[in-house]
Symmetry: C3
Subunit: 353 residues, 3 copies
């Protein structure tokens, strides 16, 4: 529940009056604007000085017992809960309460920035250029010619390869590897275990053997990109793999060589983009989905989870190929029937897909 | 085949008489109780002093040639193989031979514990509390305020974040990252590359851009949990992500923010649990399966491999949505037919799923 | 675009005459054999001294504007583009231009080998045997009894466990973990974050609890194997997990305990092989596909992407169980209809799958 500061001590956040907070996050205040909160918390656990966040409608019943100083509600919940018996505390009411919560939490409990400095076990090549405000954790490695901007955090065990460029205010959490040819923008956040710039999976076949196709391109990552733990982004063959600004990538995602992901798209966990596929702007790719090689998605395409994209999709909209689970015996019955699906009469049939 | 000790030397195990071993693992002995074994091995490779394990029925034909001192058999195999021509050596007969093998192997070849001590390149913050019996590998990092219990192994390159708590007898293999807010129980085993406590994948949308939702919860992992290589478990948004005691998680598994996995459940490789999903007790989630956000599984639910769980499942049982592969041309014919599946007459149709 | 050398300086490659290059890569030259190229590049970006590679037919229109010294084309493209207006520069024409490109790029821009030597923060156990030409990066760890061959690169943060054997000319990029019991052949390339030799996911059940099955086997990896970033290969239970020579494995792939992958097979990203499954020689497993435990694939089996292999496949050919995505509302209509798929009359039905 409590954010722990770099010193290991729980950390109580920045106090804001409800009036000022409402103004900043675009919410309407119901209650005393001079009350002060300094943390966010769930309805069940909030105490004095906390802004409770009503994460789902089921919390509404618990609200009457809250010990929070104030609560953050959506319009709909607020309308259903106008009396003190239902909501005994001050309320910030927002049209998009999740967005308002995101903003409130960032104001009340900003991430404690690590202090600049170099751990004694960090290794920096003399030709690398580091802004004096860079924080280098234990065992971090910065190779020759790398350029690292202001207030960048290079976490423990992170490897910044030769010639790599990292923009200002970017955080590279622990154990990340950025291989040569990688350029990362400003204000990015890479979680532990990310690997950027490994060779793409490209091989030509010669008499049954695989001949490696060298990968000479790089990876270009725009500003404000977030990449989840243990995700991988391969370098391009000749040109770069490109992740546009504002793109958000979850954990254990694979982005193949020469992929291009347009600005402000989001890719959920365990998804995979095969080499050369392209995702437009503001797309959402659901968890566990795969996109085949060289497939192109237009802008504003939403791919539901566990979906296979085998052909290009130019138009915005929602797309799916997921079957929800059934009890296994019933499922097998459907599958058996599916397997017998042929044209009545059993004649030859045009092939789809 | 041979377990290698920390000194790099193959290591022969602890000798047990067949009589005592039978008693300990709950098997019936057929043969001389004074014979001694000190290792487990496959039927094909076992030699003198070894207990051969009959991994599958196909091994039964090879048993007549075994050079093992004894063999471990299931009831059924033992019944089919009562004469010396079939089984020329002593036999331990068990109702669940896989379980008996697990117990025998643990007795005969226990993992050699690494010696306590700190590698010179390990980095420990002065405010961290480590039991004197902790083993710290090269390049391990323990940040401020962390508390590490008795006989814990912190492998090479592992990062234990600020304020993290690790219970007695837990092993953190190489290159693990435990971020602040993580609490791990006793006797856990985390394989290399695991990341616990990275931010969940939560973003609110504002005018086409993603606004990061801060993740202020932690991760609580119970006793006796095992987590496979390169798996990831995200921290909660406000409350904790919770992995119950006895849970077993395979490699490359993603557990999203605020998930709860009940005690003694198992999750196989490449599976993914989206944020807020809940798995009951004693569940089994097959490899490559995905569970959608906020979905709830009751106790004793078994999800077969490559299955999508898009809705909650309260009742125990087996569930599936997997199609087994067919030759591609036949498959495409079925898919084409599936795509034409509409109500006869082509009228509007209620939407399922 | 430019390969960066270990010194962080872009690096221009090895000059070859077109005549000699054509001979080496098995291409037909159209133009002056004395012209010299020293790099590969895309058609759009190539300049003087570059060999442009026509990656797809769409590039053909751009070819007339190229500033490259020469271009590498397939037979078909060359036939469509014989006049100077279409192809104003010398051309190397190949039957398999992707293969020819792979060979040309390897000749023109070979990977700069890192210099031998040991980083001061590398930790090597005195009993380990390292060839003098080994390159050990910062924070690399080599445990007792390990044996590392000629010209091996042990990248930053890589852990080579006790008794592990690594063959000549193998590259272990950054942050790899090889656990005891691993043996790797010659000329292999392991990308960052790979974990080899973690315990398989094997547990016996006893009264609702999981009992760990010890994993005492190792992992044997043949010559010329490539393994992608953050992929994992588990050790065997009693015998070894075996990856045959020439096998290519992409990123985020999971290979379970006791799997055997035959020579020259390729496994694309996010695929998973459950414990005990076997893949023949020259197979291709598509991205995101899963193979169930103990399933056996013969030689030359091609599994398309996102496919579930639940039964053994003895015969060569293409296999699939993938549904391509549709607009979600249309998809749901098909799924609803599928769910009603039962034998006309609703009687009992034989179970397939």
């Amino acid at each position: 529940m409590e954010r722990v500061g770099m010193d290991g001590v729980p950390w109580t956040g920045v106090p804001w009056t409800l009036g000022e907070l409402a103004r900043r996050i675009g919410a309407t205040l119901r209650g005393d604007p001079h009350l002060v909160v300094a943390r966010v918390a769930s309805v069940a656990r909030a105490g004095a000085g906390d802004l409770a966040y009503l994460a789902d409608a089921g919390d509404l019943d618990r609200l009457r017992y809250t010990r929070a100083t104030a609560v953050l509600l959506g319009d709909k919940e607020a309308a259903r809960c106008q009396e003190a018996a239902c909501c005994p505390v001050a309320a910030l009411v927002a049209t998009d309460p999740y967005l308002a919560f995101a903003k409130a939490a960032a104001l009340l409990q900003p991430s404690p920035p690590p202090p600049p400095g170099r751990a004694p076990t960090a290794v920096v090549h003399p030709s690398a250029e580091l802004h004096p405000s860079v924080s280098l954790g234990p065992g971090a490695v910065v190779e020759s010619g790398a350029r690292i901007g202001a207030a960048v955090v290079v976490g423990p065990g992170t490897v910044v390869g030769a010639g790599v460029v990292v923009g200002d205010y970017t955080t590279l959490a622990a154990r990340i590897v950025l291989l040569p040819g990688t350029r990362i923008g400003r204000r990015c956040l890479l979680h532990p275990g990310v690997v950027v710039g490994a060779d793409g999976f490209g091989f030509a076949r010669e008499m049954g053997r695989w001949v490696k196709v060298p990968h000479l391109g790089g990876v270009e990552i725009g500003d404000d990109v977030e990449i989840g733990a243990n995700s991988t982004i391969d370098r391009g063959t000749l040109e770069d793999t490109v992740i546009g600004p504002g793109v958000k990538i979850d954990n254990l995602v694979q982005i193949g060589h020469n992929c291009r992901v347009g600005r402000d798209s989001a890719i959920a966990g365990c998804a995979g983009l095969a080499g050369g596929s392209r995702v437009g702007e503001r797309c959402v790719v659901g968890g566990g989905s795969c996109i085949s090689g060289d497939v192109v998605l237009g802008n504003d395409v939403v791919v539901l989870g566990m979906t296979a994209i085998t052909k290009s999709i130019p138009d915005p909209g929602y797309y799916s190929s997921v079957f929800g689970a059934m009890p296994a015996t019933e499922w097998r019955r459907r599958v058996a029937r599916f397997r017998r699906l042929t044209r009545p009469g059993g004649g030859a049939e045009g092939e789809g897909e």
